[in-house]
């Protein structure tokens, strides 16, 4: 029997576990990875010339990171591995992959997209100053390069990553001058029953906060973030916020790590014409998937954070499940006990993650309340006022129409960092629920690339 042509996109936890499961079933998948090395963002591998231990780099997830890396190293010779390659388009069951300026069409029978996630951002006046980084970016500076993003760092936004990155910075010897959480502390108490679905993960979160307190890092929850202060030339100089009692504070700093959980990277699912659905609990559009990762398009599967943002352990589980789904759909038998055990793991994680969303909600009202002078699109310096103008004056109440008129979502990042908050601003300005605003459609190429690309086809 001919082997099916299976392509996996992304060599993070879900992509590696997916490829491994396929190889175990006798399939040699093509694995496309945009980065230099495997591991994804969460288990990103430091450059070869670095010497920090797994324990230093990954803390209590060291053994998971090590296992993923060593399993991948063993897998490499059994797959068609294509690092530093961008899957930039999908048309007619063909992935277009570009490496060093050369685009290659790769036809597939099955495609598993494991594209991961990026930080979900809420604009704030001054976030366009040099020295503001996404929380994930701040973590990468430390993990992949052993650097702090500044001498005096404020971490702010909300979500578990806020406390994790702050604690990692403190442990590495950086100065964290404040952690500012937009979520009120009381919400965490209400979320406890769900968070207890994963007691170890809950204990880890409590431990992170305790470590920050021991280091005497000021922690504020329930804050309203007012602005990042600074100058056009020198960048970030401080943060202004109101605490939960409404008292205004100014913290001096030269760097800010900002983020509100993650958002899935869905451009490839879009290009593969997968259907999307609105998730009211997260106020995010996500592609439709069944319990094993089948999308609405036959032969296209979605796993890891690019399908549902559930974190690294869930990514490994959903990568395996998507591989099992591919195998099933190819008419092969799959080990039912392994499928069931993996599904049970995912169910627990989903409950825990629902608790995290309850404890650390996306503060959408803050997007709606952004002052007109706040930059929404960092790429092209388009303000909230300009976006509201196209809603009020040009009747653009749909995300893609507002993008065409205002250019919010049309710049270098292609809407990754402005799209979610932009939709909230449009919704508030036009007085409709955010789901009616829709979502920015993914466009090829999914990242900017040179026009000198040759297509040998």
């Amino acid at each position: 029997m001919d082997q099916p042509r299976v392509i996996v996109i992304g060599a993070g936890p879900s992509g590696v576990r997916c490829a491994q499961t396929l190889v175990a079933a006798g399939i040699r998948p093509t694995l496309i990875e945009e980065g230099r090395r495997d591991g994804g963002q969460i288990y990103r591998r430091q450059p070869e010339s670095f010497t920090r231990s797994y324990q230093t780099l990954y803390g209590d997830t060291a053994s998971r990171a090590q296992s993923l890396h060593s399993d991948f190293d063993a897998l490499k010779s059994q797959i068609d591995y294509r690092p530093e390659t961008l899957a930039w388009n999908i048309v007619d069951r063909t992935v277009y992959a570009v490496k060093s300026g050369l685009s290659t069409p790769l036809p597939f029978d099955a495609l598993v997209v494991c594209a991961g996630a990026t930080d979900r951002l809420m604009p704030i006046p001054g976030w366009d100053f040099a020295g503001t980084y996404s929380l994930g970016g701040a973590q990468i500076a430390l993990k992949a390069q052993a650097c702090s993003i500044g001498r005096q760092v404020v971490f702010m936004g909300t979500g578990p990553l806020l406390y994790l990155v702050a604690a990692q910075y403190v442990a590495a010897g950086a100065t964290v001058v404040a952690v500012l959480d937009t979520s009120p502390f009381t919400l965490r108490v209400g979320a406890l029953p769900k968070l207890l679905a994963q007691p170890a993960a809950l204990a880890k979160g409590v431990g992170l906060v305790a470590a920050l307190k021991r280091a005497r890092v000021p922690l504020h929850s329930g804050v309203t973030l007012i602005e990042i202060a600074g100058t056009a030339q020198d960048g970030v100089q401080g943060v202004v916020f109101e605490d939960s009692k409404g008292v205004r504070h100014r913290v001096v700093c030269d760097a800010v790590g900002l983020g509100y959980h993650l958002r899935p990277e869905t451009q490839l699912a879009d290009l593969a014409r997968c259907e999307f659905e609105f998730h009211a609990d997260r106020r995010l559009w996500m592609p439709k998937v069944d319990g094993m990762g089948r999308s609405s398009v036959k032969g296209v599967y979605l796993a890891g954070d690019s399908a549902r943002v559930l974190g690294a352990d869930a990514a490994e589980a959903s990568g395996r499940l998507a591989a099992f789904a591919v195998l099933q759909d190819q008419g092969r038998t799959v080990p039912a006990d392994q499928v069931q055990a993996t599904e049970r793991t995912l169910t627990r994680i989903r409950r825990f993650q629902a608790g995290l969303n309850q404890a650390f909600p996306w503060p959408h009202a803050q997007a709606a309340a952004l002052p007109d002078h706040a930059v929404v699109c960092r790429c092209e310096n388009v303000t909230a006022g300009e976006l509201r103008h196209v809603v009020h004056q040009m009747g653009a109440q749909e995300a893609n129409r507002a993008k065409a008129f205002s250019r919010v979502g049309m710049g270098r990042c292609q809407g990754r960092y402005c799209g979610v908050a932009g939709a909230e601003i449009i919704a508030q300005a036009s007085g409709v629920p955010v789901e009616l605003v829709g979502r920015l459609r993914g466009q090829a190429p999914i990242k900017p690339m040179t026009i000198a690309v040759e297509d040998p086809a």
Binding site: Q41, A130, Q145, A174, N381
Partner: protein
């Protein structure tokens, strides 16, 4: 204070030298271009849509805030490109580079 990024560990690597806008800078083997730039500078570039300086944002190749150019006009993301000894880079786009000779 003429740096934005501060090294916390891994400083015992081989030093390398590269040129940014014609001026020599020193970095360490294994640095990304962004780290090489920001260990000796407060920013990478000035926004083409305003007067604010920029210094990267996502560090994972998603935001495209940290573009720099080779002398032949090839565009690189500083956050995801390794610095190598002898590189010569420009922080603004060289004129006419959009017509890349094949």
């Amino acid at each position: 204070m003429n740096a934005r990024f501060y090294r916390l560990a891994e400083t015992d690597r081989t030093p390398i030298e590269l040129l940014i806008d014609g001026k020599p800078i020193f970095a360490l083997q294994g640095d990304t271009l962004l780290v090489a730039l920001l260990s000796g500078s407060r920013h990478v570039r000035v926004s083409e849509f305003g007067d604010t300086t920029r210094a990267g944002f996502c560090l994972m190749g998603a935001c495209q805030d940290c573009w720099v150019w080779t002398e032949s006009g090839d565009r690189l993301r500083a956050c995801s490109t390794q610095a190598e000894s002898g590189m010569s880079l420009l922080t603004s786009q060289p004129e006419g580079s959009w017509i890349s000779p094949v």
